[in-house]
């Protein structure tokens, strides 16, 4: 890893990704060996949006490395409430912490903060933009299940606003992967992501119907269709129903299909799928800890070498 900050998955080359995933695998194999790797390291958590998995896994990751976390807490009880800018808040917390993790509702927030701080900054989601650390744990999960080359991956749901989708799509361009995007017309990939995928010569197909591609898939990555995006509740229910999966849907799938979801899910994946061999979404969420441990360790290691 040779990056001061991690803002978008577009920054990540194949060697970068493999380095993080290999380190994560080492950590997974012997958690105790990394228990004091980052003693005296403090991670600053800046979450301007609700988060369970990302925030708790970052906090767990730094603690498992022997370090600690300081958390600015909910926006309502921070100085943001008094009108402090994001740039100022970041510059203040930079003085307390060795690295920062930012989740923010505005696209481009992490890119902007990276221009104001010197400590490593990790983008933990910026609106409908990017979520590169989620992508690393997604790739780790995929690698464990199917390997990362020769892959047929379906990505289904809200592709327009789904930041996990955008980051995953960018990262997969480093591998021999055929990407199938499945969504209603109104939630297709945004122009900017298509532009990048085209520039990278990615192997991409778009569909509105999962049945067209399901039998060929090695991985099906499902995302939540966000109810709040629809002005009409009936329209949401009509669409959401079409993009959910259950055991009946999966009858046409390969036996070794891996079903993933960044979570939280609402009704995109019926709970009857949970106990099948297809379901990898809880494991995927758990992988957040070793992958974020690996990422923090590598970025802080690089910081020390400067």
């Amino acid at each position: 890893m040779r990056h001061d900050h991690l803002i978008t998955a577009k920054q990540l080359s194949r060697p970068d990704i493999e380095e993080v995933l290999d380190r994560a695998a080492e950590i997974d194999a012997d958690l105790g060996a990394f228990a004091d790797r980052r003693e005296d390291t403090v991670l600053g958590l800046m979450f301007y949006e609700p988060s369970t998995r990302t925030k708790m896994s970052f906090e767990t990751a730094i603690k498992r490395l022997g370090g600690d976390a300081v958390d600015m807490g909910p926006v309502d009880s921070s100085s943001v409430k008094k009108g402090e800018s994001l740039a100022d808040t970041a510059r203040v917390i930079e003085g307390y912490a060795d690295a920062l993790v930012l989740r923010h509702p505005s696209q481009g927030a992490a890119k902007m903060v990276s221009e104001f701080v010197d400590v490593p900054l990790l983008n933990a989601g910026d609106g409908a933009g990017h979520h590169p650390t989620q992508t690393l744990l997604d790739l780790y999960t995929i690698r464990e299940s199917s390997g990362l080359d020769g892959l047929n991956i379906g990505i289904m749901g809200d592709l327009k606003y789904g930041r996990t989708v955008h980051s995953l799509a960018h990262a997969l361009t480093n591998f021999d992967a055929q990407q199938h995007f499945v969504s209603p017309e109104s939630l297709k990939l945004p122009r900017s992501v298509r532009y990048d995928l085209h520039e990278r010569g990615a192997n991409v197909r778009e569909h509105t119907d999962l049945d067209e591609v399901l039998p060929s898939l090695d991985v099906l990555y499902v995302t939540r269709i966000q109810r709040e995006r629809f002005p009409d509740e009936n329209e949401y229910h009509a669409i959401a129903g079409e993009y959910g999966i259950d055991l009946e849907t999966l009858e046409d799938a390969k036996d070794d299909l891996t079903v993933m979801h960044p979570l939280p899910r609402v009704d995109e994946i019926a709970s009857e799928v949970d106990d099948t061999a297809y379901a990898k979404y809880f494991e995927q969420a758990h992988n957040g800890v070793p992958v974020r441990m690996a990422l923090l360790d590598l970025m802080l290691e690089q910081e020390e070498d400067r």
Partner: protein
């Protein structure tokens, strides 16, 4: 005397923006922040005959020379334009516009959810693409109606 000179009078000191695509003159004025409220002397010729372009617009602004930012954004909406700097009625500098790689602080991002629209101490930055521009923060691509996003002070 050429046809357009008959229609648009000479200026003493300032800028003549010539060979503007027909219909773009008002957008050029928007880039320059000229709405007549500050008393600037401005001459505008619209749809005047042109050998090179058949029809063109021309803008003459008394007492103003363009900044590089203004030239950069002008190049996005009027790439064929020529800028003539006039001093004492003489053209002292003639500049053909070149598309820059990026424009800083001159366009606003149409994405309401972009951090540049959130009252933060940050200037907009757009990468110039072959057929539009792209916000360097939220990555929104703008291809149509760039003039509507001009925010030059």
């Amino acid at each position: 005397m050429s046809d357009h000179q008959l229609r648009v009078s000479k200026i003493r000191n300032g800028t003549v923006i010539d060979h503007v695509r027909a219909g773009q003159a008002l957008n050029v004025l928007a880039i320059l922040g000229i709405d007549g409220s500050k008393g600037e002397a401005v001459s505008v010729g619209m749809n005047v005959p042109s050998d090179r372009m058949r029809r063109k617009d021309i803008v003459k602004v008394e007492g103003k020379e363009l900044s590089q930012n203004e030239v950069d954004v002008l190049s996005l909406i009027a790439p064929e334009a020529t800028i003539n700097i006039v001093r004492e009625y003489e053209v002292v500098e003639k500049q053909q516009l070149e598309r820059p790689d990026r424009v800083v602080g001159v366009l606003s991002c149409p994405n309401r959810n972009c951090i540049t629209n959130a009252d933060e101490p940050v200037e907009t930055k757009f990468e110039v693409l072959d057929d539009g521009v792209r916000c360097e923060y939220c990555e929104t691509i703008v291809r149509e109606d760039l003039a509507a996003h001009i925010s030059v002070e």
